[in-house]
C-alpha cells in the first residue's frame, strides 16, 4: 500500500478506435514490467493485447469494457482505467471519467483529431479532467505531429504545447527530441527498452531551439519564477516541470508528447510526463452529496483516517466471480471490515480485496483514499456508494440518458430461458443505459439501449458468456407523443349495474407545456368550491398519469403535457376513487385528438469521417436518410461531415456507409434531441400502428 498520495496517479487513456490506444496501453504495461512480452492488437499472433480481455473485444480489435489495471513507474503507483472507444458506450466512458484524475488523449499522427476525439474531449471537459496528449503512429506514412498539434488548438481549443519534436517521421522515425533537456532520445533494444540520450543532431538543432523557445514562452505563463529565470538565463529542468504541471492541472495547458507505440518509441517519456504533470488524488476536488441534508454537496478529503466513501464504478463477472471496481475517495477500505451501501442501506463484509491487472489479480489487505481496487462478491449496482456506516453520503448521481432504441428478443430454446434471465440481470446492473422489460401485451422481452451497436454487443455477450442464442425482432425506435394545442374536456363516467354504481365527472383542459420545459407532465388542480371533493383529486391525477404510458396515436408515451382540472361533480353514494380514475382516463381519451397530437422522434447527431473523395457519397447517405447536413470540414485530404439524422433511418448504416466508401469512412453517432416527425413518416407510423392493432384483434 502506498501511503504517500502524491505518488498515486489515476489515469485514463482515451482515444479514437484506431489511434492505437490498446497498443499504447500494452506497451505501458510492458515497460512498467507488468507483462513480460508484447503481443499485437487484433490477435495477429493469437494472444491479443492484455487489456483487451473480452473475447468479443479481441475479435473486433476494440476495447469495450473499462477495466482498471495498476502498474508502477518511477516509484509512482499508476492506475490505468481503460475507457471504451465508441460513442454507443458513452455511459461507460463517462463513468470511467468520473473516477479518473487525469488522462492521456491519444491522437493518430496521420488522421489527427477525429470525430471521436471531439466527443471524448467534450466529456473530459465536462468532468474537468486534466490531459496530456500523445501523438501516436509517427511511423505511418503521412504522419505530421505539427499538424495534429495545430488541430488540438483549432478543433479542440487546447493550449497545446509540444514538449518534443520528432526525429524523422514515417519510415525514418527514430526517436524524439526532448525540449526540456534538449537531448535526442533514441529507444534501443528489441522492444525499445533502452533509452539512449545524446546530443541533438546538427540538422535539427535550429528547429529544436525555436520549438523550445515557443514551449518556454507558453509554459512561462504559469510561473513567474520561470519567467524571471528565462530573463536571467538560468532556466532549470525543475522550473519547467513545475510550470508545465501547474498549467496542466489548471487545464489551461496541454503538453504534447509523441512517438509510435507500435514501434516502441516515446512511451517511457510519456510515462515520465504522466508522473510529472498529471494530478495526484489530492490535487483534485471530489464532492459527494449529503443524504441527511437535502443532498447538499460536501467536499471529500483524500484522508485515510476519515470515514470511508467509495464509489462502485464498474461491475464485472469474471472467471472468478463477481468483481466490483471501486474508487476510494475518502478513508480506508480494508479486508474484514463492514461497509454500507448508501442506496440500499445494506451492510456487506469485505471478504476479498484485490488489485487488478488486466485479467490477473493480486490480493491486498487494504486500500486508502485515492486508490482504485476491486471488491469480491459484493451485491450492488454500478454507481452505488459505499461508506463505513458512520456517515450518509452518496457520490453525486451521474447523468444517465434514456434509451432511444429497443429490440424484442426471445431465447431460441426454453432451456436457455434461465441463463437469459441471468444475463439480463447482470447487464442491467452493470450498465444503467441498458434496460430490460417484459412487454405486458405481447409478453416479449424487450431490451433497450443507446444505439444499435450497443444492443448488438449485449446480444453477442449473451451468446458467448451465457450460451444463449436469441432471436431478435426489428429494432424499435423510442418515439414519443405530445400535443400541439389546447383542448377542453368535460367527461362523465357513469355506470349503474345494480347495487352501488360508479359516478365521476371531470372538466378542464389539456395544453402543451411551454417550450424548454423538460417535465413530461404537469397536473394543475383549479377546482373551486369542492366541485370534486379533495379526496378524489389524487385519483383524477392518477387517472391522467396512467393514460400517459400509451399515447393514442401510435401507443408511445406522451410527454410535454399539462392537465388543468377546474370543475367536476361527485355523487354522495356512487363516487369513488376508482370512478374518478376512470373519469380522468375517459376525459383524456375524449380530448386527445382535439389537442392535435404529434409524434416526436429521436434525432441523432452523426459525424462521418473519411477521405475527401468520398464526400459526395457520404452526403448522399445522409440525404437519403432524411438527414440535415450541418456542415462539412475539409482538411488535408480528409473530410468530416456533421449531420442530424432521425434514428429510425439509421439502422444498417454501418453496412451502407462501408459499401459507399469502400470501407474508408467511419462514423460516430449520439443522441441529440427529440424532434417532430415529418408528415410522411408520421403517416407510415400511423398505418403500421393501425395494422398492428387490427392483427391483435
Amino acid at each position: 500500500m502506498i501511503n504517500d498520495l502524491s505518488k498515486i496517479r489515476n489515469i485514463g487513456i482515451s482515444a479514437h478506435i484506431d489511434s492505437g490506444k490498446t497498443t499504447l496501453t500494452e506497451r505501458i504495461l510492458y515497460y512498467t514490467k507488468r507483462i513480460h512480452r508484447i503481443s499485437e492488437v487484433k490477435g495477429k499472433d493469437g494472444a491479443g493485447a492484455t487489456m483487451d480481455f473480452m473475447e468479443l473485444e479481441r475479435e473486433r480489435g476494440i476495447t469495450i469494457q473499462s477495466a482498471a489495471t495498476y502498474t508502477v513507474w518511477d516509484d509512482h503507483h499508476v492506475n490505468i482505467i481503460d475507457t471504451p472507444g465508441h460513442v454507443d458506450f458513452t455511459i461507460e466512458v463517462e463513468r470511467a471519467l468520473r473516477v479518473l484524475d487525469g488522462a492521456i488523449l491519444v491522437l493518430c499522427g496521420v488522421a489527427g483529431v477525429q470525430s471521436q476525439s471531439l466527443t471524448v474531449d467534450r466529456q473530459m471537459r465536462r468532468y474537468k479532467v486534466p490531459r496530456l496528449a500523445f501523438i501516436n503512429k509517427l511511423d505511418r506514412s503521412g504522419a505530421n505531429p505539427r499538424r495534429v498539434s495545430e488541430q488540438l488548438r483549432e478543433k479542440l481549443g487546447h493550449n497545446a504545447v509540444m514538449m518534443q519534436l520528432p526525429i524523422g517521421v514515417e519510415a525514418a522515425h527514430e526517436g524524439v527530441i526532448d525540449l526540456v533537456t534538449m537531448q535526442a532520445v533514441h529507444f534501443q533494444g528489441d522492444n525499445g527498452e533502452h533509452i539512449v540520450r545524446s546530443e541533438i543532431p546538427a540538422e535539427l538543432r535550429d528547429e529544436a531551439e525555436t520549438a523550445r523557445e515557443a514551449m518556454l514562452d507558453a509554459v512561462s505563463m504559469f510561473s513567474d519564477e520561470l519567467t524571471e529565470a528565462i530573463l536571467e538565463e538560468r532556466v532549470t529542468e525543475e522550473l519547467i516541470h513545475q510550470a508545465v504541471r501547474r498549467g496542466t492541472l489548471s487545464r489551461e495547458l496541454t503538453p504534447v508528447f509523441m512517438g509510435s507505440a507500435y514501434k516502441n518509441k516515446g512511451v517511457q517519456l510519456l510515462l515520465d510526463g504522466v508522473v510529472r504533470y498529471l494530478p495526484c488524488p489530492t490535487d483534485v476536488e471530489n464532492t459527494a452529496v449529503d443524504l441527511t441534508n437535502d443532498e447538499a454537496p460536501i467536499v471529500l478529503s483524500a484522508d485515510p483516517q476519515k470515514p470511508l466513501v467509495a464509489l462502485a464504478f464498474k461491475l464485472e463477472e469474471g472467471r472468478y466471480g463477481q468483481l466490483t471496481y471501486t474508487r476510494v475517495y475518502q478513508g480506508t477500505l480494508a479486508k474484514g471490515t463492514n461497509i454500507v451501501n448508501s442506496r440500499t442501506q445494506r451492510r456487506h463484509k469485505v471478504g476479498r480485496l484485490v488489485r487488478m491487472h488486466a485479467d490477473e489479480m493480486e490480493d491486498i489487505e487494504s486500500a486508502s483514499a485515492g486508490d482504485i481496487v476491486a471488491l469480491f462478491g459484493i451485491e450492488c449496482a454500478s454507481g452505488d456508494t459505499f461508506t463505513d456506516g458512520s456517515i450518509e453520503v452518496a457520490m453525486s448521481s451521474m447523468h444517465v440518458p434514456d434509451p432511444v432504441v429497443s429490440i424484442a428478443i426471445k431465447a431460441k430454446d426454453n432451456k436457455a430461458q434461465d441463463n437469459l434471465a441471468k444475463a439480463l440481470g447482470r447487464f442491467v446492473r452493470e450498465d444503467p443505459t441498458f434496460r430490460s422489460a417484459v412487454d405486458p401485451e405481447s409478453n416479449e422481452t424487450v431490451i433497450s439501449g443507446m444505439g444499435e451497436l450497443h444492443l448488438d454487443v449485449y446480444i453477442e455477450r449473451m451468446k458467448r458468456e451465457y450460451k444463449v442464442e436469441v432471436q431478435t425482432g426489428a429494432p424499435q425506435v423510442a418515439y414519443r407523443e405530445t400535443i400541439s394545442q389546447r383542448a377542453d374536456f368535460h367527461y362523465v363516467h357513469k355506470k349503474q349495474t345494480g347495487g352501488s354504481g360508479q359516478y365521476g365527472k371531470v372538466a378542464g383542459y389539456i395544453e402543451p407545456l411551454p417550450e424548454g420545459d423538460e417535465r413530461p407532465f404537469e397536473f394543475v388542480n383549479e377546482v373551486r368550491g369542492g366541485a370534486i371533493p379533495t379526496e378524489y383529486i389524487p385519483a383524477v391525477e392518477k387517472g391522467f398519469r396512467s393514460s400517459l404510458d400509451k399515447g393514442r396515436l401510435i401507443g408511445f408515451p406522451v410527454i410535454g403535457m399539462r392537465v388543468v382540472v377546474n370543475d367536476g361533480q361527485a355523487h354522495s353514494v356512487d363516487s369513488s376513487e376508482m370512478a374518478f380514475q376512470a373519469a380522468a382516463r375517459g376525459a383524456f381519451r375524449s380530448c386527445y385528438a382535439q389537442a392535435k397530437p404529434i409524434i416526436l422522434e429521436p434525432v441523432m447527431k452523426l459525424a462521418v469521417e473519411g477521405p475527401s473523395e468520398f464526400q459526395g457519397a457520404v452526403l448522399k447517405t445522409v440525404m437519403q436518410r432524411r438527414g440535415t447536413v450541418i456542415g462539412t470540414t475539409e482538411e488535408g485530404g480528409f473530410c468530416r461531415v456533421e449531420a442530424e439524422v432521425p434514428l429510425a433511418e439509421m439502422f444498417g448504416y454501418a453496412t451502407d456507409l462501408r459499401s459507399q466508401t469502400q470501407g474508408k469512412a467511419e462514423f460516430t453517432m449520439e443522441f441529440a434531441r427529440y424532434l417532430q416527425c415529418p408528415k410522411e413518416a408520421t403517416e407510415t407510423l400511423l398505418e403500421k400502428y393501425a395494422d398492428r392493432r387490427r392483427d391483435e384483434e
Binding site: E154, K155, E515, Q615, G616, L619, K620, M623, T628, V629, I630, G631, T632, T633, E634, E635, G636, R640, E642, E644, L675, Q676
Partner: protein, 236 residues
Amino acid sequence: MYRRYLNARSPLRLLEKGLHGGLGPGNLGLVLAGPGVGKTSFLVGVALDDLLRGKPVLHVALDHTVSHVRVFYDTVFEDLAATTHLANAKAVHAEIDRLRRIRAYSPGAFDAKRLREALDLEAGLGARPELIVVDGLDVAQRSREELAQWGAVARASEAEIWISAPVGSERIPSLPEPLRPVEDLFGVILALEPEGAGHPGGHDAVALRALKDHDSPDLAALHVALDPKTLLLIRS
C-alpha cells in the same frame, strides 16, 4: 408576417435602402472589420435574412469550426425569435438548418477553385445556394487573378457572394491601401467599426458604413448603428 418583422431588423434592409438596390446576384461584396468587431455576426445576419425567405445559403468558415458557426446562427436566431415572439420558432429553426450548409476549411487551403468544387458538390445533391458568405478571407494577400476568379464563380452560379476580411485596426477611415488595386472587382465594400464610448470588453454599437456602392458616389446614405452582439439594427 412575423417573418417580415424579423427581417425588418436585418442590416440587409439598410443595404437595400441605403445602397442602391443591394448587392445583387453575380456580384462580390466585401465587408472589412477589425478583430472582434463582428465580421461573423454580420455575415450570419445577412445569411439569416435569405434563410428566412427560404433561400439556400452556403457559409464558408475559414477560422471557425462547423459547430462554432452553428452556435452563431442559433444565438442570433434565438435572439430574434425571442424579441419578436416568433410563432412556431422550432419549425422555422429546423427549416433554416435544412437550407444552410456550413463548410469549414483551413484558411490557407481555400480559394476560388475549392469554392467551385464545393458548389458542384452541392449542385449534385440538388442544392444551389443563392447566397454564399465567406468568413475570414485574407483578401489583401490574394492576387488580382485569383480574386477575378471569385467574380467569375459569382457570375457563373448567379449567387451573391459576401466576403469578410480582417483588417489590422478598429478604425477604417477609407479603403486600406493594399485593397485599392482590386477595388473594381467588388460591387459593394462595407466597413464595420465600433461606435460610442467603449467600455472594457465591448462597445455600445457597431457602425456600418459603405466604402463603395457599385458606381454610386453617394455613400453618405448608409451609416447606421447595429447591436454589437447580434449586429441587428438598434433603431428601426
